[in-house]
Each structure stands twice: as structure tokens, then as C-alpha cells.
């Protein structure tokens, strides 16, 4: 693959993601003020000193935005990685084993998916204590149901291929079949799905925080910042829209990259000459 073949939209996406990662890594170095530091009046408007103005407690929105990148990216990424590992592992085991294991896993997954994710999360978060790892785990487990469904479909597509049967005939174990025969052939759609799930995790985390059930204050997090500043909207103060824009921008960037990955996958298929 050469850099020239990556479309401009994907470049924009990659740049946006890189910027977010940079902010997350070096937040204390680049943020002009502290995360919880009160530096001025409530909802003070933007000027040359405070780029995006101040929030409902007089904290610098830009600084909180940069610190928030950290929390948001970390939680979303952790949830996606866990959800992915869990979903892929279970789905591949189901696809390779078939029979009872497959039926039990898949029926349970159907059951989990028959409740909308947010509703399920609300019920569970109402009961569980508010720790960060609990939040990550809840997000991961709920999201893994979606990964499971895709993983199983993709793995089944590959598992019925004759080279997998050939490996079974040779007497290979499940581990070999999953990791050496199936996984390398499913990387491309799975990578795209990882991107999609990551974008979804960012949105989901922000939604939870916005509803007051995600990251707890005073830690800065994009969804929570919208919640903090939402009352300003009625007075025409757009402070809540700044973190909202950040969420949207990051998700668009991820989706642009995913779109490109998906197109590459489908043109792979087209190249085989189905016509």
C-alpha cells in the first residue's frame, strides 16, 4: 500500500485521530490551565486568553477539553479492546465448535441483543457502584454482543472454506484453526468493525456521561462537559457545543477511516472477478 492511494477523506480521518492521541498523551504539557482549576467567571465568553471561554464553574474549556480527550479516549479504547477480545474469542469458538456450544452462545447473545444497549446499561448502572472499571466492563460486555454477531458470521464464512476442513482433516486443534487458518483471513472486515465499535464506544460513553451515569465529576470528559454546560444553552451560551463538536469530530474522523477500510475490503472482493 502506498500513501498516494489513501484517499483525502481517510487522510483527514487519520490526522484527526492522531491529533486526539497527541492531546491525550501530552495533556498536562499542552493544556494552558489545570483540569479543575477555576480561572475566571462563570461562562465567561471566549477571548484571546481563554480560547473557548470558561465553563459553568469558571474553568477553562480548552484545558478541560484536552484533559477530557484522555478520559474519553482511554475509556472508549479500553471498552472496545475488551469487547473485541471477548466477542471475537467467543464467536470464533462458537463458529469452530458448532453444535451445542454454538447454540447456547448464540441464543444467549440473541437474548442480550433483544434489549437496546442503552436501556440495558441504564438498568445495570442503576445497581452497580460507580467505579471507572465497572463502567468500562459494562460498556465492553454490552458491546461484545455486536462483535459476537459479526465475528460469528465472518468466521462461519471462512470456516466452511475447504482449507479449514483440510486443517481439520489433518487433525489440527481448535487453537491452530482459529488463529492460523481463520483469523488471518478475517482481519480486514474485523479491523473495519473495530473502528466502527470504537466510534460507537465514544458516542456511548458520551451519552452515558451526559445522562450523568458515565464518568463522574470533577474528572473532565466530553459527554460530562456537555451535561455541565447544558443549562447555558437557554441563555445562548454555546459552551456545551464545544465538547459536543469534539465528540462529533472524532467520530467523523474514525468513520472516515472505517469507510475507507470497508471500501478496500469490498474492492478486494471485486478484484476476484465476480462478474
Amino acid at each position: 500500500m502506498r500513501a498516494r492511494e489513501i484517499p483525502i477523506t481517510a487522510w483527514i480521518g487519520l490526522f484527526g485521530i492522531a491529533l486526539a492521541i497527541f492531546c491525550a498523551l501530552f495533556a498536562p504539557l499542552i493544556a494552558p490551565y489545570g483540569e479543575t482549576e477555576v480561572v475566571g467567571g462563570v461562562w465567561q465568553v471566549a477571548d484571546s486568553q481563554f480560547f473557548f471561554g470558561l465553563d459553568n464553574l469558571g474553568r477553562d474549556i480548552l484545558s478541560r477539553l484536552i484533559y477530557g480527550t484522555r478520559t474519553t479516549l482511554f475509556v472508549a479504547l479500553a471498552a472496545t479492546v475488551i469487547s473485541f477480545s471477548l466477542g471475537i474469542l467467543l464467536s470464533f469458538i462458537a463458529a469452530v465448535s458448532g453444535g451445542l456450544i454454538d447454540t447456547v452462545f448464540s441464543r444467549f447473545n440473541d437474548l442480550m441483543m433483544s434489549i437496546p444497549t442503552l436501556i440495558f446499561a441504564l438498568v445495570v448502572l442503576a445497581v452497580l457502584p460507580q467505579y471507572l472499571f465497572v463502567l468500562i466492563l459494562v460498556m465492553a460486555v454490552l458491546d461484545s454482543t455486536r462483535v459476537y454477531r459479526l465475528g460469528r458470521a465472518v468466521a462461519l464464512d471462512v470456516a466452511v472454506m475447504e482449507f479449514v476442513e483440510a486443517a481439520k482433516l489433518r487433525g489440527e486443534g481448535k487453537i491452530w484453526i482459529i488463529f492460523r487458518e481463520i483469523l488471518p483471513n478475517t482481519l480486514s472486515p474485523l479491523l473495519a468493525e473495530f473502528g466502527l465499535r470504537f466510534a460507537f464506544a465514544i458516542l456511548f460513553l458520551s451519552t452515558l456521561s451526559f445522562l450523568g451515569l458515565g464518568i463522574q465529576p470533577p474528572t473532565a470528559d466530553w459527554g460530562g462537559m456537555v451535561k455541565d454546560n447544558k443549562d447555558g444553552i437557554i441563555f445562548g451560551i454555546p459552551a456545551a457545543l464545544v465538547p459536543g463538536t469534539a465528540i462529533a469530530a472524532l467520530c467523523i474522523c474514525v468513520n472516515l477511516v472505517v469507510d475507507w477500510l470497508l471500501k478496500r475490503t469490498s474492492s478486494l472482493k471485486g478484484g476476484r472477478g465476480d462478474a
Binding site: 492511494e5 482433516l169 489433518r170 487433525g171 487458518e181 488471518p184 483471513n185 478486494l268
Partner: protein, 545 residues
């Protein structure tokens, strides 16, 4: 000379853009410089392997490019007018009215949401050629000519309520409905079983003669096209190999490629005598799918060491299922299999590794039988590591040795399957089987997806390896010619039952049972007038009854 031809194609060039993975898109030429003429009421056969461009040429007669194919040069004249210059509206008036198309898979080409009768007359009525009543009458007539069951009500059926052979005939009726000048038949019998194919073929031939329509008949089977065409054009890689009257092509081909297509295989191997001690002994095997559907009923067979057992049958006969039972992929519900005098564990997962090693399988599609993400070294090397623990230099040396055995050089060792040709892939698959030092190799139609020249090479290689290594083969095929060429013993299967089994010389000579008779007679032979002969004998037999 004034143009008296109905269809006249001159210097046709068709290109498409392909998107190879990880590379910039590139232009490929599908058809290059093809010319032919077709007179009213005549049939031209276009023949070639997949990728020869024959379907693309057929569709160009409708000024249509499938999947991004574009006609970039030459002319296609219908009654002297170049239809490529007609523009959208003009071409639409021709399609479905003067030029019609019969697709390979009628099952997919009919709309599942509408009745067959409505679809058959749709184009004729929409083009204003007939009223609904007239068109219905015409359809009824065509259903009768094509020998469809209860023609009066056949049109009320939905596509999923008719069989494959019936759909193919209905599609022919759809093409004939508007009294077209030209019909393009795109492999209309390829998806059908041999015994169904002959009926559809006869029906198409009868209908073409009855209605005096000209046709382009596209197929990869020279014996089929010889029965129906007046002229034949042989195509390869988008170019004309040979073009002439059917008699000349069949009886006096001038090109090597055509000769290879025409020549029925010479017997490569002499039949070996049946020995008392069998390597593989299958006793009274029955098998069923997990939904309780019974696929094998009490099959008993045996195979001697160093010999070849050919299993023939149509799709659904259970011949591939038998191979799955032997490998243990589908444990039998009844009966037992003995291998070298010892009973074979029914289920794959309980089988000792050494038993797995001794029985290997070669698939029909080498494409899907090899992991596209592994190199030839990995593919051939894995059984070496898995069974014999070979690693490093010893493994590489053995892989190279195996590549020599399959007549491929060391240069292929680090290639991926996508970088090999169809024949090379099948050779690598053979090497993978050999790497396990097997005693028995199950071959599931290993040559049926290949070009005849390439297939010949693979068969010769298999025979050579058998000679050298005393290998035994179970060879599953639907091709009687191959059976005649390589088998020692033959088993004929039909609907999960063994119909006939014995040494080749006995099995393939009369007196026959009914099914074997039908099967052998249905296989098209490379002989002019074969179809008429078979149909005549059939009529005589039914008159005699």
C-alpha cells in the same frame, strides 16, 4: 458484397477495469479482435473455458456489458445496422423483441416475486408486439413445444415452484415469445445434471428449428455444442482459436487446442486385476445429515492397494458424501470401514493421527482448499511438521523435493496461492497430500474445474505418482471419459445407493441396469448427430414398451 448476414460482428474489442488488491486499478482486455457472421435461422456455437470471453461476446450482441465490461472497439451489425451506435432507446427496442437472452442460471434470472407466465410474456407485451391474449397463446404453444409439464397451468407457477430444468425451458420460452431473430443462449444446460441436460438440449434444439430462429450458443462443452450448431468458434483468452463449420471443427481440427478439446482421452492406464486382499473395505455404510435426511443407503465397496476406484454419479448421488464418510467428517449411522485390515474409527476427532495421515483428500477447487494467507512453503510444510516433526532446513529440503515430484520448480516455494495458475494450485494441493506420505488419496473431482489441457496434465501426474509410490485412489467424478481412462474398478451411484460396482471392463459394458444405461447414454459424445440418435432410440424404446 452486400451484407446478407443477420448478425455480423467485426473486430470486436471489449475491456474492463479490474481492481487487484493493494494495486492501482488496471485495464484488462476481455475480448480482442473477434469477428464472425451469423445467417438467419443458423446456430453459431461459441466454445471456450471460463475466462475465454465467450459470454461477454454473447452479451455484446445485445450491446450489453456485464460487471463493468465495455465494448471499446469494432462493430456489431444486426441486419446491417451497427447496434453499438443506436443509443439507449434504440437498443431497448431491440432487446426482448428482436434479440433475446437465455441465462445460465434461470433460477436466479427469473424474478422470485412474479409468476413465470407473466414474466415470459412481459417483454413481448411491453414492446407492443402482441396483445396479452395473443402472447398468452404464444406462451402456451411454446410451453408445449418445449415439453413443459401441464402447459396450460405452468405459467401460474412461481419460479421456486419449478425445477432447474423446467426453469431453463421456461427461460427459452421467454426468449422465443416475441418471435426474435436472434437468441443468445449462455450455457443454458451447464447447471443441470447430465440426465436432465439431454432433455433440455433436445427441447431447445426442437424449438429453434420449429421457430426458425438464429442463435448464439455459448458453452464450454464441445460435445454439447456439436449437437446443436451449424458453425463453431473456439475461443481462448479472448481471442479466436479456430472458426469453421461444425463438421470441420469436430472431424478435422487444425489447431492443437481444438484437437485437445476434441480428443477423447486415450486410455492412460491398463486395468489391474481385482485382488483378494483390499486396502479399503466399505461394508454396508449408511449415513444421514444431522436433520435426519438419509444420504447413503447400505453402500459396500472395496479398493485394492495401488489401484484406482472411480465413483461416478450425478449431483445428489451421494458420491461426495461417501468421501466425507471415509474421512470421518460425517460418521456413518450404520456399517463399517476397514483400512488395511483394521477397522477405521468412525468420527474424525477420535481418529489416531497416524490414520489421518494415511488418508488424504484432494478437493475440486484448489482455490478454496488452500489458505490464501499462506505461502506454498507453509501449505506443503505444515503436514511435514505436523506428522513428522520436520523443521528448518530438513523441512525446506523436503518441500523442495515434493515440488520436484509435482513437476514444479523451487521458485514457487515463497508464492501465495493467488500467484499460481489453476493447474499449479491443484499440483500444490497434490503435494500437500503427498507430504503426509499417504496410502490412500481421495480425489473429489480434482480436474473438473480445469482447462482440458491442464486437466490432462494433472491426471498424468496422478498416474505417475501412483506408479512410483504404490498409491491408491478413490476418484470421484461425473466424467465418464476420465473413468474410462484411469479407473481399475468403477462404482455407479444414484440417490445415495450403489447401483453398480465391479472391475471397469464389466461395469461399463452391457448388460446395463436402467440407471447406468440412462447415465451412459446421456453423456454427450463428440459425434455429429449423436443427439438425434439417442432421441431416436428413446422413441423406439418407448414405442416398444
Amino acid at each position: 458484397m452486400p451484407d446478407t448476414n443477420l448478425l455480423s460482428v467485426h473486430d470486436l474489442k471489449i475491456e474492463a477495469t479490474s481492481y487487484p488488491p493493494g494495486e492501482p486499478p488496471k485495464r484488462i482486455t476481455i475480448v480482442d479482435g473477434v469477428s464472425f457472421d451469423l445467417q438467419k435461422g443458423k446456430v453459431l456455437g461459441l466454445i471456450g473455458e471460463s475466462g475465454a470471453g465467450k459470454s461477454t461476446i454473447g452479451l455484446s450482441a445485445l450491446a450489453y456489458g456485464r460487471g463493468g465490461a465495455e465494448i471499446t472497439g469494432g462493430e456489431v451489425k444486426l441486419d446491417g445496422t451497427d447496434i453499438l451506435k443506436l443509443g439507449k432507446g434504440g437498443i431497448r427496442k431491440l432487446r426482448g423483441a428482436r434479440i433475446c437472452y437465455v441465462a445460465q442460471s434461470a433460477a436466479a434470472a427469473f424474478n422470485p416475486a412474479h409468476k413465470l407466465g407473466d414474466q415470459v410474456i412481459e417483454a413481448t407485451v411491453r414492446h407492443g408486439l402482441m396483445s396479452r391474449q395473443e402472447a398468452r397463446k404464444r406462451a402456451l404453444y411454446l410451453f408445449q413445444v418445449l415439453g413443459l409439464p401441464s402447459p396450460e397451468t405452468f405459467g401460474d407457477r412461481f419460479p421456486h415452484q419449478a425445477s432447474g430444468g423446467q426453469l431453463q425451458r421456461a427461460m427459452t420460452a421467454m426468449a422465443l415469445c416475441s418471435h426474435p431473430d436472434l437468441i443468445v443462449f449462455d450455457e443454458p444446460t451447464t447447471a443441470l445434471d447430465v440426465t436432465t441436460q439431454i432433455d433440455v438440449l433436445a427441447a431447445i434444439k426442437h424449438a429453434i428449428e420449429e421457430t426458425d430462429t438464429a442463435a448464439l450458443y455459448i458453452t464450454h462443452d464441445l460435445a454439447v455444442v456439436a449437437q446443436i450448431s451449424d458453425d463453431i468458434m473456439v475461443l481462448r483468452h479472448g481471442r479466436t482459436v479456430e472458426y469453421g463449420p461444425v463438421q470441420q471443427i469436430i472431424e478435422a481440427p487444425t489447431q492443437d487446442y481444438t484437437r485437445a478439446l476434441v480428443n477423447v482421452r486415450q486410455a492412460i492406464r491398463r486395468e489391474a486385476p481385482d485382488q483378494s486382499k483390499a486396502l479399503l473395505d466399505i461394508e454396508n455404510i449408511s449415513a444421514e445429515y444431522s436433520n435426519g435426511f438419509k444420504v447413503l443407503h447400505g453402500v459396500s465397496l472395496h479398493l485394492c492397494k495401488g489401484q484406482t476406484l472411480a465413483i461416478v454419479g450425478e449431483s445428489g448421488s451421494g458420491k461426495s458424501t461417501l468421501a466425507r464418510v471415509i474421512t470421518g467428517l460425517l460418521p456413518p449411522s450404520d456399517g463399517r470401514i476397514t483400512f488395511e485390515g483394521k477397522p477405521l474409527t468412525p468420527a474424525l476427532k477420535n481418529r489416531p493421527r497416524d490414520d489421518l495421515r494415511r488418508i488424504q483428500l484432494i478437493y475440486q477447487m484448489a482455490d478454496t482448499a488452500m489458505n490464501p494467507r499462506q505461502t506454498v512453503r507453509d501449505i506443503i510444510g505444515r503436514p511435514l511438521t505436523f506428522y513428522d516433526g520436520l523443521r528448518g532446513a530438513a523441512k525446506t529440503a523436503r518441500v523442495k523435493e515434493l515440488l520436484e515430484q509435482i513437476e514444479m520448480g523451487n521458485g514457487f516455494i515463497d508464492r501465495y496461492p493467488a500467484e499460481l495458475s489453476g493447474g499449479q494450485k491443484q499440483r500444490v494441493a497434490i503435494a500437500r497430500a503427498l507430504a503426509a506420505r499417504p496410502e490412500l488419496i481421495l480425489c473429489d473431482e480434482p480436474t473438473s474445474a480445469l482447462d482440458p489441457l491442464v486437466a490432462e496434465g494433472i491426471l498424468k501426474l496422478l498416474m505417475k505418482l501412483q506408479e512410483e509410490q504404490q498409491l491408491s485412489y478413490v476418484f470421484i467424478t461425473h466424467d465418464i471419459a476420465i473413468v474410462k481412462a484411469i479407473a481399475d474398478s468403477v462404482a455407479v451411484m444414484h440417490r445415495g445407493r450403489l447401483v453398480r460396482f465391479g472391475p471397469k471392463s464389466q461395469t461399463l459394458s452391457p448388460p446395463f441396469d436402467d440407471y447406468t444405461d440412462l447415465l451412459l447414454k446421456s453423456v454427450p459424445e463428440m459425434e455429429l448427430g449423436w443427439l438425434e440418435k439417442v432421441l431416436a432410440t428413446r422413441r423406439m424404446e418407448s414405442a416398444g414398451n
